[in-house]
């Protein structure tokens, strides 16, 4: 029972969605299923919040090391949740001022927006920006021209790095634009690499992945691959 029901759900949903591509009469079934999927995806956000709460509450009650940080997580979590769920400080929708809950919780000036603008945004953006530093460090310590393959990788990277800035233009601007060697200008060369070599490599990867996805999807829908239910079989 624990295994059979999910397998049937997967198979039925999958079958409906696949045939809705080919039998126009069943198209609306597919639409319903994908809309439900979106709703469930939104519920998954709630699940994410709930799991977070559970994990950190446990950490605090166990007095695990770093439980103070769990307090911070819980504190910011509940504060954000409160201002968002209860629409604290949100003015009503100007078209319906008599409905107090009609306001836009993400609108500029609301406390929820404040959390986004001054906490969420700088934190996530800075986390991402740190990559520039790591990439520099990796360049110095990890990218070695160990063999021919690595030389190809690094050489291509150099051409792209130079060709996509003013430096590339500056270095090879002496090559005439309409002469037979115009293709050697770095900005031209980088375009050529992208459109031929990169396209060829990525095309093979894309075709391979498409086959892999089709194969795996098939196994999942037929119940041959049950790893998503946990466990190997």
């Amino acid at each position: 029972m624990k295994r059979i029901v999910p397998l049937w759900i997967t198979a039925i949903v999958g079958l409906v969605l696949i045939i809705s591509n080919f039998l126009p009469g069943t198209r609306s079934w597919g639409e319903e299923a994908t809309t439900w999927f979106g709703i469930i995806a939104a519920v998954a956000f709630v699940l994410g919040g709930g799991s977070l709460l559970k994990v950190h509450l446990k950490k605090i009650s166990d007095r695990n090391s770093g439980w103070a940080y769990s307090m911070i997580v819980l504190g910011t979590f509940s504060a954000t949740l409160a201002v968002g769920l209860f629409k604290i400080g949100v003015s009503p929708n100007p078209a319906f001022p008599d409905v107090p809950w009609s306001g836009d919780v993400q609108g500029q000036g609301t406390p929820f927006w404040w959390v986004y603008e001054y906490v969420f945004k700088p934190l996530t953006a800075t986390m991402f920006a740190m990559l520039a530093f790591y990439i520099a460090s990796a360049a110095f310590r990890a990218f070695r021209a160990k063999n021919f393959e690595a030389v190809l990788l690094l050489g291509t990277a150099f051409i792209i790095l130079l060709g996509r800035t003013f430096a590339g233009y500056f270095m090879t601007s002496w090559i005439p634009v309409d002469g037979p060697f115009s293709g050697l200008r770095l900005e031209e060369l980088s375009v050529y690499i992208m459109q031929v070599f990169n396209t060829a490599g990525n095309r093979a990867i894309i075709i391979g992945i498409a086959l892999g996805i089709a194969g795996t999807s098939l196994k999942i829908l037929m119940g041959l691959d049950r790893s998503y239910l946990g466990g190997g079989d």
């Binding site: 009469g25 986390m127 990559l131 990796a138 098939l218 041959l224 190997g232």
Partner: protein
């Protein structure tokens, strides 16, 4: 700074043309097409109809035909609504202007007050006259028509797309001919066609090639799965990097440091995560045998439970259920960088001896791999994300590139299903190679020899088989 909509221009142009046509048509209009028939396009996805007609005989200077269709209910509603709105607005403006003028000139009311009173009067005028405004609803045959398309003089058939499958349509056709003085004239409207409902049919024929190709690829996979299940051997080429798993786990045991396993940051619906969990099963089993501690922070709660079950069964298989600690497999956060920050912090704090990154990765790949590198861990990565491969290739000891990752998962699991499907996919690649070689050669031959039939063959193949 919007330029005037050219739609308006075309409309007025059309109106002018119609007027011109009407004027010249008064002299000697060409005969209208006959036998106008409209039918639903068979075997399609709905929303298309075919209109046919008979070309009238002996028309001098025949230019082509105009096909018109009836409005749908919603088109009529919105047109009527707009026309009524415009009419009422005109009434309101007129009433306002009259009343304002009267108040200011005759009664000598101050402008501000006059404007206020006039607006009230204008408002009442709208309310009073709202029922008296009836928009026009005329055209040939007592209907309102929409121009669909104009076609050339030798055409007697038009496939009309972009119709609504839930609305009924009628069609009519005009003959357009050149007059002797160089102008253009239009015939009277043809008789209208019967009602047609462009419904979707049972099967969309245009998409059948896609269905067959899908069936072919799936068939190959299924065939080899059953082939493998029947016990026939399936060889998979050696995948460098897999043998390193034991080495890495062994080293972690020696050093007494934990193993970090990151199954990507996507949910269980991503196949890479599934493959990552499969590999986790193997790594956990080895870890259980070696008695090494394996820690799995996950970015999705579903992945957490899948990972727990997988690791649990691995420990079970290794006979070490006592050592299984579900608390080491836990959910952190869905947020990409919240998760990355946690995981990289963990690496710095716990200094794992081996790090596995198997799954779907985005920007965090570099942070994780670089941080892992800085604590001197053996790192093994596997992902099908092409953008992250250069970093794993550079910063990890072994990397499973793209499909190699899926192959490794199949290889590790040793299940006939996995191996068979891998073989089936290889068949797909053979098909791709063959089609590419043959296709390119034929296309080249077509260009070099200039053969029309070869060119048509290539175009047909590309147009209807490869783009369903």
């Amino acid at each position: 700074m919007k330029r005037p909509s050219s739609l308006l221009q075309t409309n007025s142009l059309l109106a002018m043309l119609t007027v011109m046509v009407m004027i010249s048509g008064a002299f000697a209009a060409p005969p209208a097409p006959t036998d106008v028939v409209a039918e639903d396009l068979p075997a399609d996805g709905g929303g298309a109809a075919v209109v046919t007609w008979t070309i009238p005989e002996g028309v001098d200077g025949l230019e082509g035909f105009q096909v018109w269709r009836t409005e749908t209910v919603s088109e009529s509603t919105s047109r009527v609504g707009n026309e009524r709105g415009a009419a009422l607005l005109a009434i309101q403006n007129q009433a306002y202007a009259n009343e304002y003028q009267r108040l200011v000139d005759v009664e000598g009311v101050a402008p501000e007050d006059a404007s206020m009173q006039a607006r009230a009067v204008a408002r009442q005028a709208v309310i009073d006259q709202r029922t008296s405004v009836t928009p026009t609803e005329t055209g040939p045959h007592g209907r309102f028509w929409v121009l669909v398309d104009t076609v050339s003089d030798d055409t007697d058939r038009l496939q009309v797309g972009k119709l609504s499958p839930s609305d009924e349509y009628r069609f009519m056709v005009y003959t357009v001919a050149k007059t002797s003085d160089g102008g253009v004239e239009k015939s009277a409207a043809s008789a209208e066609s019967g009602m047609v409902l462009p419904v979707a049919s049972g099967i969309d024929v245009k998409r059948l090639p896609l269905f067959f190709i899908l069936a072919l690829l799936c068939g190959a996979v299924l065939f080899f799965i059953y082939w493998a299940r029947s016990g026939r051997p399936i060889t998979i080429r050696k995948i460098a990097g897999l043998s390193a798993v034991d080495e890495a786990v062994g080293r972690a045991t020696e050093m007494g440091r934990p193993i970090l396993y990151v199954p990507g940051i996507q949910d269980m619906d991503d196949l890479q995560t599934v493959a990552g969990i499969t590999v986790l099963g193997r790594v956990a089993k080895t870890a259980a045998e070696y008695d090494a501690r394996i820690e799995v922070p996950t970015s999705r709660s579903l992945v957490m439970s899948a990972a727990r079950e997988t690791v649990h069964s691995s420990y079970l298989a290794a006979g070490r259920t006592d050592a299984y600690n579900p608390d080491l497999i836990y959910y952190v956060t869905d947020e990409q960088f919240g998760y990355t920050a946690y995981a990289s912090g963990l690496i710095v704090r716990e200094k794992p001896a081996a790090c596995f990154y198997m799954g779907c990765f985005f920007a965090e790949s570099l942070i994780l791999a670089e941080t892992g590198n800085s604590v001197g861990a053996i790192q093994i990565a596997g992902t099908a994300m092409p953008s992250q491969l250069p970093f794993f290739v550079a910063a990890c000891d072994y990397t499973l590139i793209g499909e190699e990752f899926f192959a490794a998962s199949a290889y590790l699991s040793g299940q006939p299903d996995q191996l068979g499907s891998l073989k089936g996919q290889d068949m797909g690649k053979i098909i791709v190679g063959a089609v590419l070689i043959v296709g390119c050669l034929i296309a080249t031959a077509a260009v070099v020899t200039g053969s029309e039939s070869l060119m048509h063959a290539v175009d047909w193949f590309k147009g209807s088989v490869l783009s369903a």
